[in-house]
């Protein structure tokens, strides 16, 4: 277990978007080592966009992303590669390599980036797959898996190198409640016993209450963070949108439904 006060990710004054279109601005937050940090927001509010900027896939329009004391936005060459090696990412769509079996997908980072002997690589990959409950499908091709299974395989691949930080984009979307609860358990175990930091995008209220240490909420209108805190605090928020979100109330005026 790590020191709770240690900051591992620090986002300063971030502005993200595509070309001239600004999707989010004035984004400031910090993630502590070993905590489960959840990014919330309505569909299309820019959660995936923010995540892709955090992991260096896109360059932010403005601002800085500090990960373990290095600014990812400004980092180049070896410094950047070194930083990228410290975290694993599971994308919203899974992004498994279609020409490889599930096992080969999970083995790939081990094959390419470690010197472990072959039997240990395989053992590691199999253990990760067992961890996400995919033990029976290791030899299948990604196209032969259901959407939820692909997602779990992607999480196994993200965990292959035991990264210090795991970024997950909607890990439980498309999973049944039981599997989803298993995944929640896995996340909390890894976070609390092994000090892995999680940055998770999700909509699942049930799992937010179970796993999240801290939550930030993005807003479609103001294009920035509207609320930040523990899930229990946000439930009592005075902001109407946040309140509706946490209490599952419909936005009747906006959707034009007057029953």
């Amino acid at each position: 277990m790590n020191d709770a006060a240690e900051t591992i990710i620090s986002v300063r004054n971030l502005k993200v978007g595509y070309g001239d279109t600004v999707i989010l601005q004035n984004i400031n937050f910090q993630v502590e080592c070993g905590e489960v940090f959840v990014i919330l927001g309505g569909s299309g509010s820019g959660k995936s966009t923010l995540l892709k900027n955090l992991i260096g896939l896109y360059t932010p329009l403005e601002g800085e992303v500090w990960i373990e004391g290095t600014n990812l936005v400004a980092a180049t060459g070896d410094e950047r590669r070194n930083l990228l090696g410290k975290f694993g990412v599971a994308y919203q769509s899974g992004a498994l390599f279609g020409s490889m079996t599930v096992l080969e997908n999970v083995r790939l980072p081990l094959d390419e980036l470690t010197t472990l002997p072959a039997p240990l690589k395989e053992l590691t990959a199999l253990a990760k797959l067992k961890l996400v409950g995919l033990a029976s499908s290791v030899q299948k091709m990604p196209a032969e898996l259901s959407g939820g299974m692909q997602k779990r395989a992607a999480i196994a691949r993200a965990m292959a190198l035991d990264p210090r930080i795991l970024f997950l984009d909607e890990p439980s979307a498309g999973l049944d409640p039981v599997t989803s609860a298993d995944l929640d358990l896995l996340i909390t175990e890894l976070a609390h016993h092994f000090g892995i930091t999680f940055v998770i995008v999700t909509h699942e209220l049930a799992s937010i209450y179970k796993i999240a240490d801290r939550v930030i909420m993005l807003d479609n209108q103001t294009r920035t963070i509207v609320a930040e805190g523990r899930p229990a605090d946000l439930k009592e928020s005075s902001n109407p949108w946040v309140h509706r979100f946490f209490n599952r109330e419909p936005d009747a005026v906006a959707s034009g439904l007057h029953l």
């Binding site: 472990l116 395989e122 253990a127 797959l129 961890l131 033990a135 290791v138 196209a143 092994f194």
Partner: protein, 381 residues
């Protein structure tokens, strides 16, 4: 016999005791790097050694990641020391829990068998023939399906999406003009140029015009147009329909009660059947022009060249060329669509379909060409 090795992060201490027992003490950080070094050290000393009892003491481990756990599991499953009773102790409670989450039974069940299945030759041949036969069957079925739908769709103005026909006509026809121009004029020039050398020996250079006229009108014009169409548009049809299949768009069409053949295939085939003869005519014209340029370069006047051309070509030659164009267009578009509809699941499936579309088209074009030649010979056209 005992030894202690210490690396910067991990200390490994392997001691052999009496009566085939051994004890390994690990201290420090066991991660992917140190596990590799540890493996390299242990393997030559342990593998093949007869041990009854093997103890691993992990009490001193401060850190252990997935790679390290894999090493501990490998040892504890007895994969390195098959006959020994192995025990691992001293793991922290968290690690212990994770460690027991994956057992020897799991490993045995999941470990992919490395034996490559090799089928006997008769089986290979049999399944090959069966595949080829079912492919032919599918092609015939498809042909029947298209023919059945062609007329009703074209007659029914609402069902026939002429806009789509226009779009295909532009993409596959008009946009192909530059490449067709370049290829045909060059082919005409090259053939004429190469054959004048031989014809010169007989003093019959002027006949290069007759020859290029016949070749282009009857054979190469339609063939060039069709091959370029297969490469440019047959592949595009396969890719378009294949992507729709992969994205479940075809399923969506079907559940809306729309037949993909009527909705997507007929339009493409109609467009191709009209545009290929036009392209063939255009290719013929440019090819002949290329040949004529060579003759002109040899010093023959334009009037003579023109006279030779008109004297050697009959109307039936042109009809022959055009009817080939119609048939080739139908073949290329139908094959492209069929391969698109046959697309399997998976990301490389669309690529496979486009390749198959082009290959099958070209093979069928050549076969059809041969059939045409025989047919017209018999009909004495």
């Amino acid at each position: 016999m005992n030894s202690t090795t210490s690396q910067s992060e991990l200390e490994t201490d392997l001691q052999f005791g009496a009566a085939g027992s051994a004890r390994l003490v690990l201290r420090g950080r066991l991660n992917a790097q140190t596990a590799t070094v540890c493996w390299d050290e242990l393997e030559p000393r342990l593998r093949g050694v007869k041990l009854q009892k093997f103890e691993v003491d992990a009490d001193g481990l401060e850190f252990c990641d997935g790679g390290g756990l894999a090493l501990l599991r490998y040892l504890s499953m007895g994969l390195m020391t098959p006959e020994a009773a192995v025990s691992v102790h001293g793991l922290s409670t968290d690690l212990e829990q994770l460690f027991h989450g994956f057992t020897l039974a799991d490993y045995k069940a999941l470990h992919p068998s490395s034996a490559v299945k090799c089928h006997p030759l008769p089986e290979e041949v049999g399944s090959g023939v069966r595949q080829a036969a079912s492919d032919v069957r599918e092609q015939v079925e498809f042909l029947g399906n298209v023919t059945r739908n062609l007329v009703p769709t074209v007659i029914n103005r609402k069902r026939m999406r002429w806009k789509e026909v226009g779009r295909v006509f532009e993409a596959a026809g008009a946009n192909a003009v530059p490449i067709v121009s370049l290829v045909s004029i060059l082919v005409g020039l090259i053939i004429a140029f190469e054959s004048t050398q031989t014809l010169a020996k007989f003093g019959a250079q002027i006949y290069v015009v007759n020859m290029i006229g016949i070749i282009m009108v009857r054979e190469l014009g339609p063939l060039l147009a069709a091959v370029l169409l297969a490469g440019r548009s047959g592949s595009a049809f396969a890719a378009e329909l294949g992507t729709m299949k992969v994205n479940e768009e075809l399923d969506a069409l079907k559940t809306l009660g729309l037949d993909p053949i009527r909705f997507l295939v007929v339009q493409r085939i109609i467009a191709a059947m009209f545009l290929t003869p036009l392209l063939a005519l255009y290719a013929t014209f440019l090819g002949v022009t290329g040949g004529a340029l060579v003759a002109f370069g040899l010093g023959f006047p334009w009037s003579l060249i023109f006279h030779q051309l008109t004297a050697s070509l009959r109307m039936s030659d042109i009809v022959f060329g055009l009817s080939k164009g119609v048939a080739f267009g139908a073949i290329v578009s139908a094959v492209g669509c069929l391969r698109g509809l046959q697309t399997q699941e998976g990301p490389s499936a669309v690529g496979v379909s486009t390749t198959r579309a082009v290959v099958t088209s070209i093979v069928l074009i050549v076969i059809a060409d041969a059939v045409f030649s025989v047919l017209f010979y018999v009909l004495k056209l």
